[in-house]
């Protein structure tokens, strides 16, 4: 489809924006836009508002960097959770996967990625310093590393472990029931739940 086949500049703009979304091609974008055009104005406004507000008002919890509507997310502000245990994850989807297992009652720390030189991501681009600071400040007893079992996940684990060594905090990682190379997101709940319960000391995992 060439650009000049659009009868309207407004239509074209909307299609172009939709087509920027992951997994959406020009054809699908056009279908979605035409669908929206058929809806009531209020519905479409609600739709566009929700996106604008999402972008404008979303916050990252100042404690764990999880996505939140408030300054401190509802996991971090929940008194009944164990604030002495921090599970370190790559992204928000991992928080959701672990929450779904209902086997974990501690709190989280969201790194925002893993170290990968080929993608231009170094330790400074991640929430590692804030984690170290958090451990230094509070009554943290245990850090559970729950990054993906890829080479990059392992390297990030190792980096964090080195940084935390002096603090004396216990560092553990998910049990390797999870097969090597698996992304957390794709592991079923039962397996993931089990590997949190059966976590092992990080040091013991070295040289496995």
């Amino acid at each position: 489809m060439t650009q000049d086949t659009f009868p309207s500049k407004l239509l074209e703009n909307a299609v172009t924006e939709f087509a920027k979304l992951p997994g959406i091609g020009k054809k699908t974008a056009l279908r979605l836009v035409l669908h929206l055009l058929k809806q009531d104005k209020e519905d479409v406004h609600r739709f566009s508002n929700s996106i604008t507000r999402l972008r404008d008002e979303i916050r990252h919890c100042k404690v764990c960097r999880n996505i939140s509507d408030t300054e401190v997310c509802n996991i971090c502000s929940n008194e009944s959770r164990d604030h002495g245990t921090i599970c370190v994850v790559e992204n928000i989807r991992d928080v959701m996967s672990i929450e779904n297992t209902q086997q974990y009652h501690g709190v989280f720390h969201v790194l925002g990625g893993i170290i990968s030189p080929m993608d231009g991501i170094g330790p400074a681009d991640l929430e590692i310093d804030s984690l170290i600071k958090r451990v230094g400040e509070g009554d943290v007893k245990e850090i559970i590393l729950a990054l993906s079992t890829t080479m990059e996940g392992d390297s990030t684990n190792f980096y964090i472990f080195k940084k935390l060594k002096e603090s004396g905090v216990k560092v553990s990682m998910l049990a390797r029931g999870v097969s090597i190379g698996d992304e957390l997101e794709y592991i079923d709940e039962v397996t993931l739940g089990r590997s949190i319960i059966n976590r092992q000391l990080f040091e013991q995992s070295l040289g496995q």
């Binding site: 170290i115 990968s116 030189p117 080929m118 231009g120 170094g122 330790p123 890829t150 080479m151 990059e152 392992d154 390297s155 990030t156 190792f158 980096y159 080195k162 090597i180 190379g181 070295l206 040289g207």
Partner: protein, 381 residues
């Protein structure tokens, strides 16, 4: 373990072939370009889920056709196994064991152990060190998943470390903490891989020597040696020592990715000094040693494919090889040749069960056996 029946449709130049094999010695005879090697490749394919020669599956379909099918009826540890492989253009290839489709092809590899000796193996001698590392890796990882995993992770860590070195150079920075994590991974994995390769060569070397001596009647002195920077001293120290150089090169200059096999004839490199027949003898001995290794780690006896074994070798050596592989330390064997002369001389002396097939332009007919009775016409086209 052996293949009892093979059925082929549209694989390379083979339009439709159905064959019954001897459990011991099978020979494909025919002129150049008729499809002898392709038949071996079909058998190879059923073991490794890919062609020995061409990894682009669409090119393995007979010209002008849309699909190929390979099917083998095997006897493995006294059980019948039916292996089916079908590939249609534009689709994922299907692999089935006893009608049940595999989820992953890697689940199949190793079930039907097999060693192929082919003229293209000369790249092991003539090619770069990567060919020889590939040889070590493919033999070891056939029965050692952990090794394969370590190797994949090592290569990934290496790629990341090299990227980091490039980043340092491009931004004129140096972050030792960041480099350290990759060094640690390389050292941990590299040392394990080095140890495994050492063990492997330790097992392979004497068997190789034995076979070379046997085939050449002990006339030549050859050596096979594993070379690694890691054999010289500790890896971590060497990485540290090489750091300045690596930063300039923006590349990791020490590690098991530099390993090689040293192949020598007397005191000289085989590559430069070996005659064609000596090189071939070297490769055959190496592959037969590989066969022994694979047999020792497998429950099932591997199949041996000998493509163009008569080429470049003198009559004495060929007869020694055929005698050797006809003995009971080897199982089922497939041999190709352009005429019967060699085989007609050798086979009676060897005295093993055999079948001979004549290949003409993509079609195959049985041309003799020692099962008694008339040679059975298997395919007439």
């Amino acid at each position: 373990m052996y293949i009892k029946e093979l059925s082929v449709i549209n694989f390379k130049n083979l339009e439709q072939v159905e064959l019954e094999f001897s459990h011991k010695l099978n020979c494909f005879i025919g002129n150049n370009g008729v499809g002898k090697t392709n038949l071996l490749d079909g058998i190879y394919y059923l073991s490794f889920c890919k062609s020995y020669f061409n990894s682009v599956d669409s090119q393995n379909i007979r010209h002008e056709e849309e699909f190929f099918v390979l099917q083998g009826q095997y006897s493995r540890l006294d059980e019948d196994e039916n292996i089916y492989c079908g590939f249609q253009k534009g689709q994922k290839k299907k692999f089935r064991r006893n009608k049940k489709e595999y989820k992953r092809l890697s689940e199949h590899i190793g079930l039907l152990p097999l060693v192929m000796i082919s003229p293209s193996d000369t790249s092991l001698i003539m090619g770069g060190s990567d060919e020889r590392r590939k040889f070590m890796d493919s033999v070891i990882s056939q029965n050692d998943r952990q090794y394969l995993d370590q190797l994949i992770r090592y290569n990934r860590a290496l790629l990341q470390r090299n990227n980091l070195l490039k980043y340092f150079a491009a931004n004129r920075v140096f972050e030792p903490d960041n480099l350290e994590v990759w060094d640690a991974q390389l050292v941990m994995l590299g040392e394990k891989i080095n140890k495994r390769r050492q063990e492997f060569l330790g097992e392979l070397q004497p068997i190789f020597q034995k076979y070379y001596d046997f085939i050449s009647d002990g006339h030549e002195q050859v050596t096979l040696e594993y070379q690694s920077q890691l054999n010289e001293g500790d890896f971590e120290g060497q990485l540290k020592e090489a750091l300045q150089r690596d930063r300039v090169l923006q590349f990791t200059s020490v590690g098991i990715h530099k390993d090689d096999l040293e192949l020598k004839l007397g005191d000289f490199p085989m590559k430069k000094m070996g005659s064609q027949g000596q090189k071939k003898t070297y490769l055959v001995a190496l592959k037969l040693a590989q066969f022994d290794f694979i047999r020792s780690v497998n429950q099932a006896m591997p199949i041996l494919l000998l493509d163009d074994i008569f080429d470049k070798l003198d009559g004495e050596r060929v007869e020694k090889i055929v005698k050797l592989v006809s003995g009971n330390t080897f199982g089922q064997i497939f041999i190709t040749d352009t005429n019967r002369e060699h085989l007609d001389q050798i086979i009676p002396r060897v005295g093993a069960d055999y079948r001979i097939f004549r290949v003409t332009d993509g079609a195959v007919t049985e041309n003799g056996n020692n099962n008694g009775g008339e040679p059975k016409v298997v395919e007439n086209n």
